[in-house]
Point group: C2
Chain length 206, copies 2
């Protein structure tokens, strides 16, 4: 199909498609003349994926490219798969971040501290520091509640990694990490509304 047809099918403007082609996110079509190329279903699928990453998950073009490169060139170990997703999502790592508090927490939760990377620990340390610097104090036991909930989520996610093909495994891990984030946060807000009504109803707070 022509680029205008690809645009109609995916609801992505032609100018945007050309931008993704220039940036190397979308693979080239087959040239049919000096100025025209032909596209197929693989382009439509890839375009939907790019839009989900860039518009849905809010990734930058550079982050999306790193993720898509990971999907196209899988590493050899199941454990390494996560590295691709987490690396593309992590900001620059401040190597000087003190992760000793996080290590102690991981030990107390029974998580494998040796197999959690510095970027991941630094992200938790920074998120905790952000909460505290805002003068917000987590109620006693709340951090453990968060950790337990995320442990349940992650265990189910990792158990669901398909092992029948490497491509399927990479797609699942890389995309699942990114695409599910907005879903989790949106579910938390709905759950808060539901729980808030159960506790407070329409009664004034005091």
């Amino acid at each position: 199909m022509r680029i205008s047809e690809l645009a109609s099918e995916t609801a992505v403007p032609v100018a945007t498609i050309k931008y993704y082609l220039r940036e190397g996110l979308l693979h080239d079509g087959v040239l049919t003349s000096a100025t025209q190329a032909s596209y197929d279903d693989s382009h439509a699928r890839k375009l939907r994926l790019i839009r989900a990453l860039v518009v849905g998950a809010g990734l930058s073009i550079a982050e999306a490219r790193e993720l898509l490169d990971g999907v196209d060139s899988p590493p050899s170990s199941g454990h390494d798969l996560l590295g691709i997703a987490h690396h593309a999502l992590a900001g620059p790592v401040d190597e000087g971040v003190d992760t000793s508090e996080i290590d102690a927490l991981l030990d107390s939760w029974g998580w494998s501290r040796e197999n959690c990377d510095v970027a991941g620990k630094a992200a938790v340390a920074e998120a905790l520091a952000g909460v505290r610097s805002a003068g917000f104090e987590l109620p006693s036991g709340m951090l453990e509640t968060y950790a337990e909930a995320m442990h349940e989520v992650a265990t189910a996610e990792i158990a669901g990694v398909p092992t029948d093909s490497e491509e399927a495994a990479v797609r699942y891990v890389v995309l699942g990490t990114v695409l599910v984030e907005p879903l989790l946060l949106a579910l938390r807000r709905l759950a808060q509304q539901s729980a808030s009504f159960e506790r407070f109803g329409e009664r004034p707070l005091r």
Copy 2:
């Protein structure tokens, strides 16, 4: 203290402080001359809060202002508190979004569908659509796992809302909703790394 001292104490550049003053995020100091003002601890606390929202949680200036206005002028009902936080965080709501699938899910989970707002349901619907349009299929039962985990989180959070003062309740709900998001996502990634090692170790995927 002078603005330069406020900058030193909070590690926020003077130009940034002046920007927050102009934008109305930070309250004015007391004028000590035609060109100088004096600031106190309330400015330092507020600045740390602004930084946590803008830098830590990634809010825009307009979103941060809406949240801070909510913290300064609390509503009268505990349930309404969430509205402030969620409204500031939600993008523009597409009233045409079909939330019937979400309503059916809420019923099946036993959540109070009447007390979840359209913006919250639309956010879940859009997040689900984003996952699907990327060609990513959630494994069977995974959506329920996510919902259960977020239900546990939200129930603990709402149970922890302090009721001794309205100001404390508002701070807790409004800031907790926003500031904890990066923490939850960072914990999920660490939990994935830990769970991934337990399942795959250093063995290649196949």
